[in-house]
């Protein structure tokens, strides 16, 4: 988009939020990604209406039935309907993304704000702690946390959430340090505003765009990590229809029932793709410095 066009848009009196949404809408990748995500949300909300069977109902006689006929995507080794399990799985996938990203975002933003704003020895020591957290490879850190907390879907989400905190702290702290030195913050301070008010009313709104970019890019990564943990048995436990967990037994029946491998994997791929497409577009619109 040309600078002239951007200026024209700015002069139309649209709010910043609407302006950004308009720019986002212009990007093909945002439209495709957004479309996939809306489909995923509809799937999750409408699961009871879309699913053709009870996702937990076992039927030993109808084990490993091929796709088509009564079972659109076939059945698994317990005779459960794969289509219905994948539909219900979308709820878990969204939940994983929202909770893990939520943990990283809230904790990381608060701690980053505090560290940047307080500065001094606290900031110095605290940032060394962040360096240490960042020294662990992300998946290994999540693995270690699950090892301590024990395998479960909830713990997998906590682990993925905690392993993402350090990134937010660093970004938010950096932006806070910049904003803190602005003249208007000095002016508000001189007026006698309380620290809490300065932080949440004046600093936070100004650092929200890098945080938003980070969150949209972390969402797909969180889904992949949690699905990975479930796949190796450390996340969602059977009979939960989490997509990574659906693939656990598929290896055993690969030759007999390839659909058990194909469909849950495609579901993960498309959701992650949707969030990645949207994430890239959000990054380009909100953080042009990071383009490419």
């Amino acid at each position: 988009m040309t600078a002239k066009k951007e200026n024209e848009e700015r002069n139309t009196g649209l709010s910043v939020g609407r302006l950004m949404l308009k720019r986002l809408w212009r990007k093909g990748s945002a439209r495709i990604g957004g479309g996939i995500i809306i489909l995923l949300i509809l799937m999750a909300i409408g699961a009871p209406f879309i699913a053709t069977h009870d996702p937990f109902e076992m039927n030993i006689i109808g084990r490993l039935e091929a796709p088509g006929g009564e079972h659109l995507l076939g059945t698994d080794e317990m005779g459960r309907d794969l289509f219905s399990r994948i539909i219900y799985g979308s709820r878990i996938t969204l939940q994983i993304g929202i909770i893990s990203v939520g943990i990283s975002l809230v904790a990381g933003t608060l701690l980053g704000l505090l560290s940047g704003y307080l500065g001094g020895t606290f900031d110095l020591l605290f940032m060394r702690l962040v360096d240490i957290l960042m020294a662990f490879p992300g998946f290994i850190l999540a693995l270690g946390i699950v090892a301590v907390l024990g395998p479960s879907l909830q713990n997998a989400m906590i682990a993925v959430g905690i392993s993402g905190i350090a990134g937010y702290i660093r970004t938010v702290r950096g932006s806070t340090l910049e904003i803190k030195q602005e003249v208007y913050i000095e002016a508000i301070k001189a007026q006698g505003a309380k620290n809490r008010r300065i932080l949440f009313r004046h600093v936070l709104p100004n650092i929200i765009s890098p945080v938003l970019v980070m969150a949209t890019l972390q969402f797909p990564a969180a889904i992949l990590s949690a699905a990975g943990l479930s796949f190796i048995g450390l996340g969602a436990q059977p009979p939960t229809p989490e997509w990574g967990a659906l693939l656990v037994r598929s290896r055993v029946y690969m030759e007999l029932a390839p659909w058990l491998v194909n469909f849950p994997g495609v579901a993960i791929l498309f959701s992650v793709l949707g969030f990645n497409l949207l994430g890239n577009a959000v990054r380009d619109v909100f953080d042009p410095k990071l383009k490419h």
Partner: protein, 307 residues
Amino acid sequence: MLEYIAKRIFLMVPVLIGISILVFLMRVVVPGDPVDIMLYGQPSTEENRAELRSFLGLDQPLPTQYFLFVGNALRGDLGRSIQTRQPVASEIKNRFPNTFKLTICSLIIAAFLGVFTGVLSAVKKDTWVDLASMVASLIGVSMPAFWLGLILMMVFSVNLGWFPVMGSETWKHLVLPSLTLGLIAAAIISRMTRSCMLDVLQKDYIKTARSKGLSERRVIYKHSLRNAMIPVITIIGLQFGYLLGGAVIVEIVFNYPGIGEAALNAINWRDFPMIQGLVLFITVIFVSINLAVDVIYSFLNPQISYD
């Protein structure tokens, strides 16, 4: 330059101390008594429990336990596995070469494929080649590694029978796991190479090179790629560390006897000395690789000052 390297190594010390504290604390913060957890489901007497407690050094005060842990780790002693009663270090010594082989093979695949498609994409910007390569790399970064592994296994091992399904005895066992990890890392490297090449291709010295009448081939390979490679090498180096983490899951898919498979076993057995040893080992390797990448980067990039 040497001073810079020494400074970087010196700065690594507090990070390593922090890592060792966190890894040590893993066992301490486990909810419940670690001895109960380790003996879960097994009959035990008070005597057994006291024996296990002193075997693990749990009867000592915490700071003493920590210094013992670090002191032993520095001497290469990471304790004994609860599951096998063998030294953790020797288990790592047996398994790490497999993981290392897997990581190196994946990195070679990723670097060649990633740089090649990235350059191609940049040179053929806005053509169908660029589009196809961008779509492929987007799919690559969105693909769960374990699923790609399963698909490759299904096609090339189960259906075509070209490669063994699992194990590690011959080079053939290495092909599918390396491809799985390598293809995904290639996607990331390809995107990075494309954007670095595009940046460089807009530079004035490329215009000068072209206006001198140099062949397009020379402009691309001699003038652009060399300059674009500096950040790309950093990404490739950093991928090496991430591949070590990613290897965990791929090893489990292919039952490949590396440290990832050992980590999963240890977690399922709540074998904490083993878990701690593995996490500590992988993280120290990861940090060292990142340091090496940094040093190589500063060496390659004449724009960096060492002050």
